[in-house]
Each structure stands twice: as structure tokens, then as C-alpha cells.
Amino acid sequence: MSRTEVTFTVNGKERSAHVPPRMTLVDCLRDEMGLTGTHIGCEQGACGACSILLDGEPVRSCLIFAVQVEGQEITTVEGLAADDGSLSPLQEAFWDHHGLQCGYCTPGILIAATALLAHNPAPDEAQIREAIDGNLCRCTGYQQIVEAVADAATRARGQGND
């Protein structure tokens, strides 16, 4: 099968891979680039586990072929923490509020919530729920996830005011 070289930026670093056109972006990230933080759930756009940021906006990486993102910028869950490994305020809030149980949906929800807070630093509960309504969680229910996102927003605003 023919392979094509594709080059794009992942978490701030330029990466290349030789991929067959039919390889989805999530398979490329996981299997070719070793970034297994992004999860594969349904492979048909229903579950949201594979959410990543494409040029800053959340999309489903199982519904994009790797060859399509030539030259674009991608952020995966691995790119949310600081370079020294310290968690982002959102990740800290998920820790504190027990916003995960098995963790399968967590990378996708962190990506969705990161995008929400980038656009809207003070979301209300309805806006938080809308932002994650394309992400399925089968363990905790969504209550603690919503509380974690709300708390992360509060903390970020608090820091800005100090």
C-alpha cells in the first residue's frame, strides 16, 4: 500500500510520519508517534475519546486522516501539562474533584474543557455541559467532571485577579 510523508506540529514539536492515506490521525498519533494519551473508543465519531486540538479547536481525531493535517498544529492530552510535568490547573482540578474513574474518556474531556476555558474563562454549568456533551463517560456520571471544570475556571480567574 502506498505511503505518504506527512509533517505537522504536535505539542509544539514538528513531527513526520510515513502513513497510508487511510490511517486516521488518532492511529498516527498513537502508533506512529507513540502518543498513546489520546484514546480510541468508537472509531466512528460518537464517543469523543479521541478529541484533540487542531489549530486550537477541539475535533475528533478518528474522523480525520493523518494525511489531511499537513502543516497544521495539533495538541494532544500530553501537551496540556507543563514541560516539567506539572499538571495544568484543569488537570489539578480533575485530580482534586475525582473527575475520573477508569480514565478512558478523560483525555478527550480534558481537551474539550481546555478549549472551552480558552474561549470562555467563566462558563456556567449549562455551558460546561454543552462543551462536553460530545464526550461519553461510562463510570462517574458527569457531576464531578462538571465540578472540576467549574473549579478550574474559578481558580484561573482567581490567579488572574491576584
Partner: protein, 286 residues
């Protein structure tokens, strides 16, 4: 759940895409990909197996929102999320902005396109319903020719449209109306963002006395295509809102599906139309 192998071409412009599309055949299918939010799952399930995939995502001439004559034109490759957030759309095409809030989720709207949804032609999809209700015109191109088709003539059946395999939808034009406008989009779905069981879209124009002079009423999920309800529109313009609601039942032909029975759809369609009419009239009256 992996697509069959295919060759990939990133189209540089519309002419490039049309030329390659024209070179396909029944045996060697050439297909364009827009946002891919429906096509990629269909390919993963092997329900379609194109030999060549022509990517429109870098064709910038298909992207954008702007006035064109007395219409608001939306390029076929404009992302649904971009349209939803556009001030131009909120001011000049409020029914579309309201409908888009029901289309999938943030992640799919960031990638999915207006043109992709129009051409896929799901009978319960929101964007085709808005196009039919507002009398939109679809601008369609093929290699070295182009044509315009009314949205009302475009839908022929479930996921069947008048577009030919060698054609690409380039943009859609929504006629602009003047006056006191009210719009409403109502929908029943199992969960927010799911495919609608039934949806209702309404746009009314009132005169200075509060009388309805123009009504556009339609429902989705109630037949093989999005339906515009001419009898309901005539009743509303005659000042008879109850008659407009009562006329829904005779105009629809819903089917039983695993998600909802025809009887259920028949029960909720008139109610959604009533809510949409009252909501739109109230908005225009403020």
C-alpha cells in the same frame, strides 16, 4: 473499523478538484471529502470505498460567508461552528444560527461543513431543513459547467439528492427578507446533539400592525426529505394559527424507525410546529 485503502489528493483549488472528480468512473470511484464527519464513519464501516479521495479542506474559495446580491452566501466548506458563531449569520440568518446549536457537538461542528450536511441529505438533519424552509439556492459546479438548483428541488429521498457524482456544491444562497422577522427552531432528540426524531423550523415576517405577511414553516424527520408545509404557511398568513397547526398532520408522512414510531412523530410534529410558531411570532413582536 478501518477504511478500505484509497489514494489521496489534496485539491489546490476548485478546478483541480472538479477535474479529478470528472476522471472517476463506476469502477474507479473518485469522491470528495469535506469535513468527513459522516463520510469517514461510512468509509470505516466500508459502506463506501472510494478509490480516490479528493480533499477539499484546502480549497479556500469554497470557504466564507458574505452578502451576494440580495442573498447571504455561505461557502460549502465553511465549518458549521464558524457559521454558528458568525455575527453576519446571527443578524441576517438567525434561523440557521439557532438550528446549528442542535447539530452534533462542538467537536463535530468544528470540522463538519454546511455543504457536507446539505449534500449528505439526511431527512432529519437540521441544515437541509433550514435550506428547504428558507428557499435557499444551491450553487453546483462540474468540470467547466455550473448550475443552480432550489433546495426544495434538491432532495429526492433519504440521503438522495439531485447532485451528480461529478458535481461539487460550491455555496448556498439564502434570500434575505426585510421587516420584523421572527424565527424559531424546535427539536425532539433522545439527547442533545443526537439525530432529531422530529424538528420544526419557522420564519415569520410581521407588518407594522403585527399581522403575519410571510410565513415559512417546515419539519424534519417526518418524511423521506425535509418538508415545507405550504398549507400551514397559508393558514398562518390568513391569521389562523390553530389551522396552521392542524394542517401539519395531512402534510407529513413519517415512518416507523427503531428510534421512534410514525405515530409518535405524528403526535409531536404539530406540537413542535405550534411551539415554533408561537416562539417566532413572539420574537417578531418584541
Amino acid at each position: 473499523m478501518k477504511p478500505a485503502p484509497f489514494e489521496y489528493h489534496r485539491a489546490s483549488d476548485l478546478a483541480d478538484a472538479l477535474r479529478l472528480l470528472d476522471a472517476g468512473s463506476d469502477e474507479v470511484e473518485h469522491k470528495v471529502i469535506a469535513g468527513g464527519q459522516t463520510l469517514v464513519p461510512l468509509m470505516a464501516m466500508r459502506l463506501t470505498r472510494p478509490a480516490l479521495l479528493i480533499d477539499l479542506n484546502r480549497v479556500t474559495e469554497l470557504n466564507g460567508i458574505g452578502h451576494e446580491g440580495d442573498c447571504l452566501r455561505i461557502g460549502a466548506m465553511t465549518r458549521q461552528g464558524h457559521v454558528e458563531a458568525s455575527d453576519l449569520v446571527r443578524e441576517n440568518l438567525p434561523l440557521m444560527a439557532k438550528a446549528l446549536a442542535h447539530v452534533g457537538h462542538v467537536q463535530t461542528r468544528n470540522r463538519g461543513t454546511v455543504g457536507g450536511s446539505l449534500v449528505h441529505g439526511d431527512a432529519s438533519a437540521e441544515i437541509p431543513l433550514v435550506a428547504v424552509v428558507l428557499g435557499a439556492r444551491l450553487n453546483i459546479a462540474a468540470h467547466e459547467v455550473s448550475r443552480v438548483i432550489e433546495a426544495g428541488d434538491f432532495y429526492e429521498g433519504p440521503m438522495m439528492t439531485a447532485i451528480e457524482e461529478i458535481e461539487i456544491l460550491t455555496s448556498v444562497d439564502f434570500p434575505q427578507v426585510q421587516g420584523r422577522i421572527g424565527t424559531s427552531f424546535q427539536e425532539v432528540a433522545p439527547r442533545h446533539g443526537d439525530f432529531a426524531l422530529v424538528s420544526a423550523a419557522v420564519q415569520v415576517v410581521l407588518d407594522d400592525n403585527g399581522k403575519c405577511t410571510t410565513a415559512r414553516i417546515g419539519v424534519g424527520g417526518c418524511g423521506l426529505t425535509p418538508l415545507r408545509l405550504a398549507d400551514s404557511e397559508a393558514a398562518l398568513v390568513a391569521g389562523k394559527i390553530d389551522a396552521a397547526v392542524a394542517a401539519v398532520d395531512a402534510a407529513i408522512d413519517p415512518e416507523d424507525t427503531p428510534q421512534a414510531s410514525a405515530a409518535y412523530r405524528r403526535r409531536i410534529a404539530p406540537e413542535l410546529v405550534r411551539r415554533a410558531l408561537e416562539d417566532a411570532i413572539a420574537e417578531a413582536t418584541i
